[in-house]
Amino acid sequence: MSPAMTPARLKVSFTVNGEKRVLELDTRTTLLDALREHLHLTGTKKGCDHGQCGACTVIVDGRRINSCLTLAVMHEGERITTIEGLGTPDRLHPLQAAFIKHDGYQCGYCTPGQICSAVAVLDEIEAGIPSHVSADLAARPQLTAAELRERMSGNICRCGAYSNIVEAITEVAGRQP
């Protein structure tokens, strides 16, 4: 192969679910592929791979993003939380438990993205970040079903578990002070 054809590789280090990870990656590797293929954290799902479905949602430095639309090498020194970092089968995150209780899924493929997104949505409402359906830009956003539906619109569920997802998030939101 000519030099121009040799894939460029770079070292990157970041923290995933509290653990420091160092990888040497082809620059083309998305954060999603780094998590799934290199770190074998397969909880984060690849749906569309184009930022349209939300299945790949993870939390980076406290904010939810589509891990398919960002390069791993762009996250030097950052803190990444995936579904594996939120809870375990023995110690479920409250939203994981609520999704089970309210039947917030059918096939489950979109669920890790839904839950990571929902965790961040509750933080965004707490931080006072408005949404498209917030009636008054100056007021604190309310925890209504309309707000949750709008804020969760970047997570598609082809089984159509939407109403149960809203119920699960609503229950957990109600428990928070």
């Binding site: 939810r64 090498v73 970040i129 100056a138 619109s153």
Partner: protein, 316 residues
């Protein structure tokens, strides 16, 4: 995706110099549009210059009462800024009407201004597209064009600009600040920033090779009622069929810009003088030169009705 080399720039000047030095280089900030296009090989940069560490992520008050928005301010942070919500509600509303929470957390102010069209023929590399491959033709003309532009188009291209934020920036007379590879800076009024397609639809803005957006400034607040009304095929997370951004004063005068209808955010200042006379008069001025296709002629009616709804909302 084609292979590329990658560097992290440490200053705007260094980034601009690097972009001019390396053939096929591109800046990457949020990456939400660029990486999508790279996966489809619509964009094939040989080198990426990561500008995320340039400390251009602040929103500062200006001495004249305006705001200076750093190029890297994320869409979420811009929409949530207290001053933007209070004084530039149109901008906050337009941002919140766009994309999803995940995308707004990454997407930047400068990147939003530069996002590419979602014309289906631009995305389909098996089809001709003058924007993607100059001189190859336009499959949208005579194709499925329901989403596409009705005015400002050419024989070469009928793609729309997809941005909501840019519609607000247009109505607010924003100014785009840049750094150039030769070390100079310039300020470009947003009215002069976008090009119409003509016979070069691949050239979308007046930015020169290697020129980097560093900030967007807003003049002092206009007061009035701020409205952004977006009509789309589903209630959330979809591009506009038609959108209207407006600032309306108590006497019925004001500013207007439209999204979803043209290759750039569509503003005709002469149409604004018709605002007190109502939507029909405004639409007549805005769309005097419209050339809709059979598929998207409905946008003329939809735009007039959306204008009507906006003006009615402003009257309260």
């Amino acid at each position: 995706m084609k292979s590329f080399t990658y560097e992290r720039a440490t200053s705007p000047a260094e980034a601009a110099t690097a972009a001019a030095r390396v053939t096929g280089a591109k800046f990457i900030a949020g990456g939400t549009n660029l990486l999508d296009l790279m996966k489809l090989q619509i964009e094939t940069p040989s080198h990426l210059i990561d500008v995320n560490n340039l400390a251009l992520d602040k929103i500062e008050a200006m001495p004249d009462g305006g705001l200076r928005i750093g190029a890297l301010v994320r869409n979420t942070d811009l929409a949530a800024d207290e001053r933007v919500r209070r004084d530039y509600g149109l901008l906050a509303r337009a941002l919140l009407a766009g994309a999803s929470g995940q995308l707004r957390n990454k997407a930047t102010t400068a990147g939003n201004l530069l996002q590419r069209t979602r014309c289906p023929y631009f995305y389909d590399t098996d089809q001709p597209c003058n924007k993607r491959k100059p001189g190859s033709g336009c499959a949208a003309i005579g194709g499925v064009s329901r989403q596409l532009a009705i005015i400002g188009t050419s024989e070469a291209c009928i793609a729309t600009n997809p941005s909501d934020m840019a519609v607000a920036m247009m109505a607010l007379d924003a100014i785009v600040e840049t750094a150039r590879p030769d070390g100079t800076a310039r300020s470009i009024p947003i009215a002069d920033f976008y090009r119409l397609p003509g016979d070069t639809p691949h050239l979308e803005t007046v930015l020169e090779p290697g020129e980097l957006i560093t900030a967007v400034t807003l003049p002092k607040p206009l007061g009035g009622t701020h409205i952004y009304r977006k009509v789309r095929d589903r209630a959330s997370y979809a591009f506009a069929l038609v959108s209207v951004g407006a600032v309306v004063q108590r006497d019925g005068t004001g500013r207007l810009a439209l999204g979803g209808v043209a290759p750039k955010p569509w503003r005709i200042t002469a149409a604004e003088t018709e605002m007190p006379r109502g939507a029909k008069a405004v639409a007549a001025r805005l769309f005097a030169d419209a050339k809709p296709t059979r598929d998207n002629a409905f946008k003329l009616t939809l735009a007039e009705r959306t204008l009507s709804a906006v003006l009615a909302e402003a009257r309260g």
